[in-house]
Subunit: 434 residues, 2 copies
């Protein structure tokens, strides 16, 4: 299924009108950035880039799409022909997937004709806004968990395809696994999961259910112990699976207290290697509170797939420069109060002192073809993602996803320690336009 | 692309284990319900049912999915064979799409063998949770707008496919149109949109841009007037398009004040029929505040596609009854504190007095095959959606979507007036288990 109609109607009507006015082929630069970080966060994590590159290559108007556009008189016949031949042949630079970002960071820079670049607005933002919202929340959970593994299990609280994106974004941000099978198949993310309460209720007794699960999945499985009475279930679990039982899962109740009690009980039963995983409505704050408890791993659902209070990163896709009839570049920006944007292409670098980030410096250039002379005064943040319409294959597929996960760890390690405070605050480093 | 792997791994491992323990074929009833309405809302709106019925028919494990499950040893060979033949052949009842719901309302009831019904948990919840979250928020915006048309334009703040679902859910809840082209094509929703700020910035002057747009789209188009200076742009817009200009759009600033000033200006210019549409970060509260201003229509983005603070409806999919070895039905429920569920199948009716809803009555039956003798004491809320695996075609496609939109209007009209208060509160009618 093509991604071409995952597009706001006004993009195609703009192409139509610009073609008629002779401006459609003006070379243009659009930048994707967020005006602010949501919820008083200290930093954001870029995610979705790899997904976007893959969907960009499928952005084609096929016969079915063209027929519908014709019937609905969205654009004229000449523009339909143009759409039929559409292939993005321009260039895209961007922050690497997994990179840290701040307000104003140009996380994606699209250069092409106005017409070929403007039609990518909705698709680019849909992907980057959601995936970055999830990754930004997930990254806080990962640092709060301080090495304890996190599993993403929120598919049921996201749209059916969005759930796959959420699993991927959480993995990029450092989660270890997902419950979502399609995310495992498409992106190579380890999948996990054993049984729900319904499995216990299906059987005539909790013992029947535990025996059935251990028979099928082996004693290394994770048994869910809170369907009836946790203490009784933990006793039963060890009796059924033996002391080599893999883990018990607690999905309700007073988690810190319960985890401590269950740990003592497991140890007393000789199941010293049996792990405890908890999965009840966790977010970064609950995880932080559980760090003192003897919990071995966390499962996170709703809060991670909904961005923990910020389900979109609020990024926008703005024209910052275009050529005029004389062939020269013109920096452009709208003047509306409160939605002010800065015209001109930005060349971003992260300034570091002793390996620690001190500021996000955006070098603004009126001539976007001229690389900024000052861009070497820090770590350059843009990499080529698409060159003359061809995506860099390193960023695609499961390998690209794993690479993004590695890069996030490196980029986060550069942040000052204040970045990891969960309380509301300002971005941990300032954004400076130069 | 099949929907079969849009599934949490534990559903397949439960099928595997239940097949081994001989319980997989026990007839079972799962219900979908929400424990509470989010954010102190007074009612919720069911949406997504039509989408779910369509995806249910595509829920097939093809060769690619089976190969991946085999390689990853998710289930054993015999279960792979069972999955290869999987077709849902059971029955589904549910609240009609567009229906009002309350805490505990069994908005979907799935009856089949445990194995065939449990594998639908994630897909059902992914769709119903998101679509109902959007529709529940959208319905409040529709009542706040009190007859003024609302356009959904939030695709960029939702995942790329979720955006199509959001457009549909908003339409079910009473929105008039969407910017999303795929939603127009797939679900028959009217699409709208003319131009963004980038179109003005592309041209050498605002006048060039307005002339280009009017040349392409006619004077009935909507011109965006806040790129530079609103007053100057409104003058220019009427000069370029004439007094038959369709509308002006304001996307920033102090909207009530600006709308009043623009209305006076348009009237003074003789453009008395030119409409004003506003589109800047609106939610139900901003819409309510704008009702005193001379605004003709609203465009809503972020807030509607993210459920205005509640991006998921928080619904769960719970086993409530299953047969035992003796063939008799057994009501089941887990006992965990705070996540208590009520065992037994519910037959819901909405009690009415003088046409106004007074309570949501859930008749609980230990024998789910026996229709409740008391179910006629109000408006019965369940309708058959799938019978022996076949979906009722009335609820599918664009026709089903339009039907849901009509039903929402009827169902909302039954609510007491307190339902339409935007402030936080309790559900407007109580849920009563009988």
């Amino acid at each position: 299924m093509t991604s071409a109609l995952l597009t706001d109607r006004y993009e195609l009507t703009m192409v139509d009108a610009a073609r008629k006015s002779g401006t459609a082929d003006r070379r243009s630069i659009f930048e994707v950035f967020a005006r602010h970080l949501p919820n008083g966060r200290r930093y954001g994590i870029v995610a979705g880039t790899g997904r976007l590159l893959e969907q960009l290559s499928e952005f084609r108007f096929g016969d079915a799409e063209l027929a519908w556009l014709r019937e609905n008189e969205v654009v004229d016949a000449a523009t339909l022909d143009w759409l039929a031949d559409y292939r993005f042949k321009g260039n895209v630079w961007g922050y690497r997937e997994g990179e840290v970002y701040f307000p104003g960071s140009p996380i994606l820079v699209v250069e092409g004709t106005f017409a070929e670049a403007v039609v990518l607005e909705t698709l680019s933002l849909s992907i980057l806004n959601y995936d970055s919202a999830v990754a930004s929340a997930a990254s806080r959970m990962v640092t709060a968990a301080d090495g304890r593994p996190l599993a993403e299990m929120g598919s049921r609280r996201a749209t059916e395809r969005g759930a796959v994106a959420a699993a991927r974004a959480a993995f990029v941000a450092g989660f270890s696994s997902t419950s979502n099978l399609e995310a495992g198949r498409t992106w190579g993310i380890p999948t996990m999961g054993t049984a729900a309460h319904s499995f216990t209720l299906l059987h005539d007794s909790e013992e029947d259910a535990f025996r059935a699960q251990v028979a099928a999945l082996g004693p290394g499985t994770t048994l869910l112990v809170d369907t009836y009475d946790v203490t009784a279930a933990v006793d039963l679990a060890v009796r059924v699976a033996g002391p080599s039982l893999g883990a018990v899962r607690i999905d309700s109740g007073d988690l810190p207290g319960q985890a401590s009690a269950v740990r003592k009980q497991l140890d007393a039963l000789g199941a010293k290697s049996t792990k405890i995983t908890v999965t009840s409505d966790l977010d970064e704050y609950a995880i932080a509170a559980l760090q003192v408890a003897p919990v071995d791993s966390y499962g996170v659902g709703t809060s991670v797939v909904t961005g923990s209070g910020a389900p979109t990163a609020g990024m926008v896709y703005k024209l910052v420069a275009r050529v005029g009839d004389d062939g020269d570049w013109v920096s452009v920006a709208k003047k509306s109060a409160a939605k002010l944007s800065v015209g001109g292409r930005k060349f971003p670098v992260r300034s570091l002192r002793g390996g620690v980030a001190t500021s996000e410096v955006l070098h603004v250039e009126d001539d976007p073809d001229a690389p900024s002379a000052r861009a070497d005064a820090g770590r350059p943040l843009l990499v080529p993602l698409v060159t003359d319409g061809i995506a860099d294959p390193r960023y695609l597929g499961a390998a690209g996803t794993a690479l993004a996960r590695e890069h996030r760890a490196v980029a986060v390690a550069e942040l000052p320690v204040d970045a990891f405070r969960l309380a509301r605050g300002e971005p941990v480093i300032p954004t400076v336009y130069e």
